[in-house]
Amino acid sequence: MQAFKFTHFMKKATTYTVKVERTDGAGIADFKAEVATVPAAAADSNKGIMLSVNIRYEPFTIGDSRGVLKLTSPEGMEYSCLLFGKSSASQP
């Protein structure tokens, strides 16, 4: 599991919708976000507010997986992050 950290600069409170999609074919993505939404308070300073969302990698097959994480707000803010996964055979 890893955290995707991003800085919220908007000077009003909002809620980001979290979406994870597979980009290397159809089917269920090997990546999952721990939450469906991320609430953000208004950023008072120009430094913004650091937020994060945890992404879990749960591979079903051996090999590479690719996906994309997208966070969108109703105001049109958008953050995206490419996800790369590599799974190997389980160790005894």
């Binding site: 600069f9 879990r56 049109g76 790369f84 190997s88 055979a89 389980s90």
Partner: protein
């Protein structure tokens, strides 16, 4: 030189000392607001910041203090620094206009500095947010059956 808009009235008398002859002129000067002084382009990738310096000149013989409350800005993501600028007589100094766009878009806004001594300074800002310059990524590695 008038710093502020308004009507200035004065009387000017030319006198010949030896004969006492004189002629009087009543002068009315109407000073109007200046047009937009500058157009400033502030273009940046979204969530990054761009800034540009603007020089203010103090042609008077008195010290002038410019603080942030004297600025009116039509966009909440445009900022002016420093918080306070002190100009000595006949001195020029620079303040900085910064813009951090949050969305890919283009817009315009006005920035006006109203100083009680130096008068009004108007600027038109062309604001543009462009696509991000970098793409973030996360890499995961694990054995099957784990996470």
């Amino acid at each position: 030189m008038a710093m502020r808009a308004g009507v200035y009235k004065m009387t000017c008398t030319f006198k010949v000392e030896s004969t006492g002859e004189y002629v009087v002129y009543k002068v009315n000067v109407t000073v109007v607001e200046s047009e937009d002084q500058h157009e400033i382009d502030l273009f940046s990738a979204i969530r990054e910041s761009v800034s540009q310096g603007v020089v203010i000149e103090n042609p008077t013989n008195q010290q002038v203090v410019i603080n942030q409350s004297q600025f009116t800005i039509g966009n909440e993501y445009v900022e002016v620094t420093p918080e306070e600028l002190t100009l000595k007589p006949r001195e020029s100094r620079e303040f900085k206009i910064s813009f951090r766009p949050l969305m890919v878009s283009e817009s315009q806004c006005d920035l006006v500095l109203k100083n009680p001594i130096l008068g009004d300074f108007k600027y038109k800002l062309n604001l543009k947010g462009t696509a991000p310059t970098s793409q973030r990524s996360l890499a995961f590695k694990c054995a099957l059956g784990q996470d």
